[in-house]
């Protein structure tokens, strides 16, 4: 049975100006086009990857480099998840780099100086992050000081506190379990293989879960008479995603397996993706960013939502600090320098709107990956840090300019 014939009548209406006589091809095409538009950022990532695999003679896509890409950018991606939520609500957080450094230092005290068990150190550190969020959220949500100011102050305060905790020295080295957060791999479960079976197994499960979930969503939508994309395009997209995951998993499996950082990231993306799309809290975040007054007059407790948003950001900044510290096996005073700007860039490159109300977790992750691939690719090519910096800035500017242009063209103001 072809899906094209079973499509509910409402879908042609959605096609808008599509001529009825060419409607099948027309809707099919319009689907592809709108999808390309929606996933423009994903396509940009693919373009960047392809470009740099040529420029680096394929080094970019070597298993070890792919694994490195994840581990090196893990903490930025964790921050990007929290940052995009803050930005969607119409705020900003400049303090996350300092908070990450502060929590890294505190975790050094817990795990090394005091010698607490690694798991307790991690939990306590995350709690410290939450407390930082409580502090900042209080000023922003209940006192009404702009987030820019509060977190600018936080940037200084927590950088200062980090230095105070460290007392002009580095703290190291951390217990192995703690270090795994930044450096570890999920291997050795089944012994040594050329291709890690666990990685391949997890990838297979992930693909199956994804396909099942997509099918269920599609069925659910169709049963409610909602427009669904043409079957051909749906299948093509699933195949594409399957291939990408498969290749990615193959690369990881032929190196050291799944990095622990990736597991953490995957869980965050899943959980926060659901929160932003399907939970009342997430909906309220979009509502606040879209129109604060309208949200307030619709009964959204805007202050509480803002408060918890910053508590959440504090915890994620703490997690990023832990991952970074674990990776270096060192809590140092320079940790987290400039992280906030990378996370903010990731969110904006990923399509978040400066005025708030618009953005996605997935977009921010892809935005972060684009920066990561650019930097990684340029490093492999031997381009200096000075040019990397400049290119990073240029990409951010162009991404937002493209977004603004797009909106103006579609007539939105």
């Amino acid at each position: 049975m072809s899906d094209l014939e079973t499509k509910p009548a409402s879908s042609t209406a959605a096609g808008g100006q599509v001529n009825p006589s060419t409607s099948k091809v027309g809707t099919w095409l319009s689907h592809v086009v709108t999808d390309l538009g929606k996933n423009g950022i994903f396509i940009a990532l693919i373009v960047v990857v392809v470009l740099f695999s040529f420029l680096t003679d394929g080094i970019l896509l070597r298993p070890q480099n792919i694994s490195n890409l994840i581990v090196q950018n893990g903490y930025i991606l964790v921050l990007a998840v929290g940052m995009v939520m803050v930005i969607i609500a119409g705020h900003i957080d400049l303090s996350v780099g300092s908070v990450a450094a502060f929590v890294g230092a505190v975790s050094g005290v817990f795990a090394v100086t005091w010698g607490l068990p690694w798991w307790l150190s991690i939990i306590l550190s995350l709690l410290v992050g939450a407390l930082v969020g409580v502090w900042q959220g209080f000023w922003i949500a209940y006192v009404g000081i702009p987030a820019f100011i509060v977190t600018l102050a936080g940037m200084l305060i927590f950088r200062g506190l980090a230095l105070a905790v460290l007392g002009n020295a580095n703290i190291g080295s951390f217990p192995a379990e703690y270090r795994a957060l930044g450096n570890g791999f999920l291997t050795d479960l089944f012994g040594e293989f050329d291709l890690d079976p666990l990685t391949l197994g997890v990838a297979a499960i992930a693909i199956i879960a994804l396909v099942v979930q997509q099918l269920r969503t599609r069925k659910g939508r169709a049963s409610y008479g909602q427009e669904v994309e043409p079957l051909v395009w749906f299948v093509a997209k699933l195949v594409l995603i399957t291939v990408v995951i498969g290749m990615f998993a193959y690369a990881l499996a032929s190196y050291k397996g799944i990095p622990v950082t990736l597991i953490v990231l995957a869980v965050l993306i899943l959980v926060y993706g659901v929160i932003m799309n399907r939970s009342v809290f997430g909906r309220h975040i979009y509502a606040i960013g879209g129109n604060l007054h309208a949200a307030e007059l619709s009964g959204v407790k805007t202050r509480n939502v803002t408060f918890w948003l910053f508590v959440n950001m504090g915890v994620l900044a703490a997690l990023a600090g832990l991952i970074f510290t674990a990776r270096l096996n060192l809590a140092g005073p320079k940790a987290g320098d400039g992280f906030e700007l990378e996370a903010i860039s990731a969110a904006f490159i990923g399509g978040a709107a400066v005025q708030g109300g618009v953005g996605t977790i997935g977009g921010a992750i892809i935005g972060g990956l684009i920066i990561g691939v650019l930097i990684n690719g340029m490093s492999i090519m031997g381009i200096g840090i000075e040019w990397q910096q400049a290119v990073k800035g240029l990409v951010l500017l162009l991404a937002v300019a493209f977004d603004v242009y797009n909106k103006r063209r579609s007539g939105g103001r």
Partner: protein, 509 residues
């Protein structure tokens, strides 16, 4: 040189879903006061925005000829350079700047080194203020003078730009009688100095007082232009309404039950200046199935009353009691108000009512997301279904419920706002200016929705500044003036004259 300073020929302007102006022709003679008259949403303001370049050349069809020259304004600065100045209903003054600074905003009086010459600024401002008959210190901040005086400052600002054609968009809507008289006399005075003006108004007495000719606009078309000698109220009303007055409002047979909401001694103060009483000891009630109107001029405290009641979203030092079906309830937060079955649809859809960058579906569900939660998560399929049901039942004209509300016409946006509140299943709906900025056809639909809500036994409070509307749809009308209820009229006693008398009733001083 012809006698006409302005000729607008065949102006047509469309917005998505609405034809706002259709082949409108307007001729204004040099040195006259020309009135433009029509209902809200007839297209008067749109026509003036076309003229002043707010809608730039190219976004409309037709020609504008000003002083015998075809003009193509790209923006408002272009039209001002030619001497066309428009003063909007919402005054464009910066509250924290002084009178003189506002007058010369973007036209600063400079001395040596290109710096602002404050002596010149203030002395020029005094001269301009004298021309409009306003005796105020030019260094007084705008926020410290009343609306009437602010209007005069706007006119002084226009004079500073060497205005040839002054457009006043409902200049007296927010003014009391005394200020209105002063303003109208000023227009005649300026006419003596050779300044042509266009006044948009639907107050017939002031049109008769100042204008040399009246053009009536209805449903985006210019109906006719009447010379002063031929102006009669009947003729204007007939042109404005264009149809039988009986059928502008859907039939409504009241089926009134028990009291559903009673407000006692409701008082609210200004949020920034708690010494100012904005809502003064208001007592009112609504019964099931009843449509109750609140009539008041701008600034009478209508919205302030509604918003202070609805979750204290306006004001400070709020006191009073609210009873629902005889039982006292609290409405201290919006959530509490919603939970107690009260809904408030704002007068300002774009600022307070809708998330314009979000789709219809998510706007409708906004106030009642809890209803859609299944297993801790929002059921977006159900949400789609619900939104689609409202799209059909409320006749929201949009291809799908995934359309962004920012792209809809005013009438359809208002239907989304109403859907949102109806979905929250309230017992009492407070609708603040429910038909503001909506075209005539959609107004009728909104009235029908209000009737349907009453027929379901809900209590409806309609706040409006359009008396015919209130008289057309309400069962009972309260008048509000200076924050106080000054009268209560069953619909049989509510004539425009008595209502206006009570709406303008001032406190004994």
């Amino acid at each position: 040189m012809t006698t006409n300073i302005l000729e607008m020929r065949g102006i047509t302007k469309t917005f998505p879903g609405v034809k706002a102006l259709q082949d409108v022709t307007l001729n204004v003679a040099r040195g006259e006061v020309h009135a433009i008259c029509g209902e809200n949403g007839a297209g008067k303001s749109t026509l003036m925005k076309v003229l002043s370049g707010v809608y730039p050349h190219g976004t409309y069809a037709g020609d504008i000829v000003f002083e015998d020259e075809v003009v193509e304004f790209k923006d408002i600065r272009d039209s001002e350079a030619k001497g066309i100045v428009i003063i909007h209903q919402e005054l464009a003054l910066s509250p924290y700047l002084s009178i003189a600074e506002n007058i010369f905003l973007n036209n600063e009086q400079r001395g040596g080194l290109g710096l602002i010459d404050w002596n010149k600024t203030n002395s020029e401002a005094v001269k301009l203020l004298a021309r409009v008959g306003l005796r105020e210190n030019p260094t007084t901040k705008i926020m410290d003078i009343g609306v009437g005086k602010q209007q005069l400052v706007e006119i002084a600002k226009a004079l500073s730009k060497r205005v040839k054609l002054l457009i006043l968009d409902e200049p007296t809507a927010a003014l009391n009688d005394e200020d209105s008289d002063h303003l109208l006399n000023l227009m005649l005075h300026l006419k003596g100095q050779g300044i042509t003006s266009i006044i948009i108004s639907h107050k017939l007495n002031e049109i008769k007082k100042v204008s040399d000719a009246v053009t009536i606009i209805r449903d985006g078309k210019a109906i006719e232009t009447i010379a002063k000698a031929d102006v009669t109220e009947d003729r204007i009303i007939k042109d404005m309404v264009g149809r039988d007055l009986e059928h502008r409002y859907p039939d409504h047979t009241p089926n009134i039950g028990e009291e559903i909401l009673r407000v006692e001694d409701w008082t609210a103060h200004h949020p920034q200046d708690p010494s100012r009483v904005m809502v003064d000891n208001v007592n009112l009630n609504v019964r099931c199935g009843e449509i109750v109107g609140i009539a008041g001029l701008m600034g009478a405290g209508r919205t302030e009353f509604a918003m202070s009641l609805f979750g204290r979203t306006y004001g400070s030092r709020i006191s009073g009691k609210v009873f629902k079906a005889g039982k006292e309830i609290k409405t201290r937060t919006v959530t509490e108000a919603i939970d107690n079955g009260i809904a408030y649809a704002t007068e300002d859809r774009k600022t307070y009512g809708l998330n314009l960058i979000e789709d219809i579906k998510r706007n409708i569900s906004m106030a009642s997301l809890g209803k859609l939660v299944k297993g801790g998560l929002v059921d977006d399929n159900e949400e789609f279904k619900v939104a689609n049901e409202y799209r059909t039942s409320m006749n929201i004209k949009a291809p799908t419920v995934l359309a962004k509300t920012g792209k809809l016409s005013g009438g359809n946006q208002q239907k989304v706002v109403l859907s949102k509140w109806i979905y929250s299943n309230p017992d009492v709906l407070i609708l603040d200016e429910p038909t503001r900025g909506i075209d005539v056809g959609a107004k009728y639909e909104i009235y029908a929705i209000i009737n349907a809500l009453a027929a379901q036994g809900k209590g409806v409070i309609v706040i409006s500044s359009e008396l015919p509307e209130l008289i057309g749809i309400c069962d009972r009308i309260y008048t509000l003036s200076e924050g106080r209820i000054t009268g209560e009229f069953p619909i049989v006693d509510a004539t425009p004259e008595t209502l206006i008398k009570h709406m303008t009733m001032e406190k004994a001083r």
